[in-house]
């Protein structure tokens, strides 16, 4: 084990190298560009025994990964924002073909207007593609979750692709010390990928990507559903194995001061640290508030969310995405989970940090203020846009 100072992108690239990925196909896009740069450098220097395909688009990046994975090899890529959108079609195809491709995604805002900074609109918009989704809070998590993603994705009970989100610039371009295990330790944790179901071998000719009539289509979708459900336990097993080997413990939802909290704030990604900081401060002021950070968004951690919020009266979801005409996507899922469980907890949505807008301490305090008002029975809005100049749009 060595401590190495890495950018988030560097952590993802290093994880791809240490996972001994066979084929990487990638296309440059800010802010994930450094990942294919670094991998092409590893390959060019003979530090990584892989084929690197510098494709002409993200659509082709995912397509080439599908080809390589269909051939039975470990394949990975990285992208961001518009790149993820361009490969959107292929995301469904990778999961439908049950190919455990792993991808790092620098979470960046979507055009228009064009903007290269952080929010989660890109991966949230890919939530229905059948990919497992992890969100990293820091560079250590980005590194670890990439390795974990391969193990989970390639598990016989799962065989679904997985993506790891890391916040644009906040993580991708920020240097942090990362504990990096020995190659041997990674090899023990992540054995070679030897698929029984998908390969391209003239000795054993099979047909992949066949045409399916209504008579069978729904069974295939149900099969994917079952695989994603199976991923719940597999993720827990892999988290436990990872903790026993490397000492870092992951949870689908990690809670901070939730046990007695009247207000629980739900977060994803790098925002979580800021929110915990504010919560610690507010606890000193006697406000009973806690934080539940979602690390695994697909499969959605219903049970873990319930465990985190069961004692709360108000849940505030802070999220960097919006589904126009509804609200935040995470809010919708938390709401369905909480009320589906029969809890009468109030769930409020806070749309924050779109397109790199800072989420400041005072913004989190404002969120808690609104939650406190709701706690006291005051009328509050369900959907709240935070740190946005609402006056500015009046003449637009």
């Amino acid at each position: 084990m060595a401590k190495i100072v890495l950018k988030g992108n560097g952590a993802v690239a290093l994880a791809i190298k240490m996972a001994r990925v066979d084929v990487v196909a990638a296309y440059p896009i800010t802010p994930s560009t450094f990942i294919p740069e670094k991998i092409s450098e590893y390959v060019a220097n003979g530090e990584m025994d892989a084929e690197f395909i510098p494709v002409e688009s993200e659509h082709s990046a995912m397509s080439a990964c599908i080809g390589a994975s269909a051939a039975g090899l470990r394949a990975a890529t990285a992208t961001s924002s518009q790149g993820l959108e361009l490969m959107h079609e292929m995301l469904f195809i990778a999961s439908g073909m049950r190919l455990p491709i792993v991808m790092g995604v620098a979470n960046r805002a979507l055009s228009a207007p064009i903007n290269i900074w952080c929010d989660h609109q890109d991966t949230i918009s890919a939530r229905d593609t059948g990919w497992i989704q992890f969100y990293a809070e820091n560079n250590q998590e980005a590194f670890d979750l990439m390795l974990i993603a391969f193990r989970v994705a390639e598990d016989e009970r799962v065989l679904l692709p997985a993506m790891v989100g890391l916040d644009a610039f906040i993580l991708t371009h920020t240097f942090e010390p990362v504990d990096v295990p020995e190659q041997r330790e990674v090899d023990d944790f992540l054995p070679p990928y030897r698929p029984k179901h998908a390969y391209l071998d003239p000795e054993r000719p099979i047909t992949q990507g066949s045409f399916v009539y209504p008579e069978y289509y729904m069974e295939f979708k149900y099969g994917q559903w079952i695989a994603m459900e199976s991923a719940r336990d597999v993720i827990d097993e892999v988290f436990a194995d990872f903790a026993s080997r490397f000492g870092r413990k992951y949870e689908k939802v990690s809670t901070f001061m939730c046990d007695d909290a009247e207000i629980v704030l739900i977060t994803m990604g790098s925002l979580s640290g800021t929110v915990r900081h504010v919560v610690r401060e507010l606890r000193n002021e006697g406000i009973k508030v806690g934080v539940a950070k979602i690390t695994v968004f697909r499969p959605f951690p219903h049970k873990e969310i319930i465990r985190a919020v069961k004692n709360a009266k108000v849940v505030g979801v802070l999220e960097k995405n919006v589904s126009f005409g509804f609200g935040g996507a995470v809010y919708g899922e938390v709401l369905a989970t909480v009320h589906g469980e029969g809890l009468d907890t109030k769930v409020l949505d806070f749309i924050v940090g779109l397109g790199g807008r800072d989420v400041r301490v005072e913004d989190v305090k404002e969120v808690v203020k609104i939650c406190s008002d709701a706690l006291q029975g005051k009328a509050v809005d369900k959907i709240n846009w935070i740190n946005v100049d609402k006056e500015a749009v009046k003449n637009a």
């Binding site: 073909m97 190919l99 998908a198 099979i206 047909t207 992949q208 066949s210 399916v212 069974e219 295939f220």
Partner: protein, 94 residues
């Protein structure tokens, strides 16, 4: 009982042979083997591999064309391309 694979993968190569396309036919090719010069064009041009080269000890080439009516869709390319007019398309009687 229905049983599916992962990812709609098909492990039985060439399994369309279970689907007899012969019942698509309205005309069927009939070969006059005495006229046949064994050029093999009917075999070559069949989109459905429905002309088979069967053993024929009497022919210098050692084979003769036989229509596989299980799969022949009756397109008539063989009859059209036969250079000696040895294949006739005959209305299918069903």
């Amino acid at each position: 009982m229905k049983s599916i694979t992962k990812g709609a993968i098909i492990y039985e190569a060439g399994s369309t042979i279970k689907n007899k396309t012969g019942d698509w036919r309205t005309f069927k090719p009939v070969i006059d083997i005495n006229k046949c010069v064994r050029c093999g064009l009917c075999w070559a041009y069949c989109p459905d591999a429905a002309i088979i080269k069967a053993d024929d000890a009497n022919a210098r080439q050692g084979w003769k064309p036989v229509v596989d009516y299980d799969f022949c869709k009756g397109c008539g390319i063989c009859a059209k391309e036969c250079p000696v007019g040895a294949i006739e398309m005959v209305k299918e009687e069903k």
